[in-house]
Every structure is written in structure tokens, then in C-alpha cells.
């Protein structure tokens, strides 16, 4: 049960997007740019960073929603997503992504925990400044999304498999436009 009155049937951040369209637009556009738009990190890598940070923040909705999207980008490899969440240093991912996940983890525990050595490690593995920048912004943005979702006590479907269908659509089409069911809930809220 959420802490405020939200539209029924829209889990996690989607109920919040329906509640406040003015803030939903920039938050969705930011997600689109960071996770799905053009970039030298693949969408799978960026979704793994978002999933890892959400798991560290213990946000059930976000880690399952974005973990399912990451798995879609990885041909259904749920196991790799799980490995990244539990022990990314030993997961079957590139050394560059490990270094970026280490930075993301530092941002999650507190921005000042990122030290020059963490940035050096990422650079040694070939990460560009833009990739390091975007990693930090993804991690920081997901700390916000995670706290937004949990701070209002939103509902999340308990079965991780139930996130797959929507994940396939997001992996293919991205985060824009705002989904039709959220837009419908926004419209019914704004009517007197």
C-alpha cells in the first residue's frame, strides 16, 4: 500500500508518473537519454549499471524492472544479471564494465567515496570521460529513482518473471513516449 493515493494497477514509478505528469516528463526523458539513447556504452551495459545500483539500494521494483530490460538486451541471460548484482567482480563482463560498476557502487554509498584511483582504474580499462560521466549520472539518477519509488511506498509485483513483457517493449522502443496506460491514468486524474 503506497503512502499516497495512486492509480490502481500501475506498479513502482509508473504510478508516480501517473500522479505527477509535470515531473514524469523530464524523468522519462532523462532515462531515455541515459539508458536507451545513443552512447558508446551499450544499452545492456547501462541497464546493468542501473540494475546494480537499484539492487544496492534494495529497490525491488527498479532492480527487477531494469534487470529484466538488461536481460532482454542480453538475449535473455538472467543469470548474468544476477551475477552482476551479487558479485560483479567475478561476473562474465568486461574489465571496463567492472571498473564502471565499482564507480557506480561508490556513488551509491556516497558521492565522495569515488576516489581518483577508481577513476584511474576505469581509464586504464579504456573508459572515456563521457562513459565515466554517464556512469556517475546513471548511478546518481537511480539513487533518486530508487528513493522516489520506495520513499512513497509504491507497490511492486512480487514475481520477477512478470517484469519480462514490459521489459521487451522498453528494450525495443525505449522510455518514450510515456506508456499509454500511464497517460490514461494521468488524464483521468486531471479531470475534475
Amino acid at each position: 500500500m503506497a503512502h499516497i493515493q495512486l492509480a490502481v494497477g500501475l506498479p513502482g514509478i509508473r504510478g508516480l508518473f501517473a500522479f505527477r505528469p509535470e515531473t514524469a516528463d523530464p524523468l522519462c526523458e532523462l532515462a531515455e537519454i541515459l539508458l536507451h539513447g545513443p552512447g558508446t556504452l551499450s544499452p545492456a551495459e547501462r541497464e546493468l549499471i542501473a540494475t546494480y545500483v537499484s539492487a544496492e539500494n534494495d529497490c525491488y521494483y527498479c532492480q527487477n524492472a531494469h534487470g529484466a530490460i538488461a536481460a532482454c538486451h542480453l538475449d535473455g541471460n538472467d543469470r548474468l544479471v544476477r551475477d552482476v548484482k551479487t558479485d560483479f567482480e567475478h561476473a562474465a563482463i568486461s574489465d571496463k564494465l567492472k571498473a564502471l560498476l565499482a564507480i557506480a557502487g561508490k556513488v551509491q554509498s556516497g558521492g565522495k567515496n569515488v576516489r581518483p584511483g577508481d577513476v584511474e582504474r576505469a581509464r586504464r580499462q579504456g573508459a572515456t570521460d563521457q562513459e565515466i560521466h554517464d556512469t556517475v549520472l546513471i548511478a546518481a539518477a537511480f539513487c533518486m529513482y530508487n528513493r522516489y519509488v520506495d520513499g512513497l511506498g509504491t507497490w511492486a509485483p512480487p514475481d520477477p518473471a512478470s517484469y519480462r513483457e514490459r521489459a521487451q517493449k522498453v528494450a525495443r522502443d525505449g522510455y518514450l513516449p510515456i506508456p499509454a496506460d500511464v497517460q490514461a491514468a494521468q488524464a483521468s486524474r486531471s479531470q475534475p
Partner: protein, 83 residues
Amino acid sequence: MKPIFLPEVESHPRPSPTTDLIRAAQSAGTEYPQIWHLFAYRPQATANLGAFTHEIMRGDCPLPAGLRELIAAFTSYGNDCPF
């Protein structure tokens, strides 16, 4: 001011209103908040953060703007972020 971790972010601002602010502060020799470099580096992404911030801080809401700034200041203090 100390350089930020990513020199490319500091040295490659894209055209944006924030870039003009940085140039003005630099030519006047005054210090400025280095979050400006982050806003100037990726304006397409950070414009959304600006729009979001404006909406929650100044948009239509029963909480007065002063109280909203107080909440932001209290949270930033809790996060040990002086700026």
C-alpha cells in the same frame, strides 16, 4: 578551484546557457559552482534535470517555495554536500 575528476568534462562544454555562465565567471575571475561543468557537458540530459528541479521547486504545489528550498537544503546537509 581544484580541477574535477574528468578533465574532458571540464574542457569540453557544449553550447548552453550554463557554458555562458562559466565563461562569464572565468573572465571575471570569480569562483563558481563546478556543477556548472556537469550541466554544460551534457546539456541534453541535464536540461531534463533542470526542468525537473524547476517543477518540484517552483511548480504548482501547496508547499511554499521557501519550504521546498529548506527541504532541499536539509537533504543536502544530510548528504554532506555543502553546495
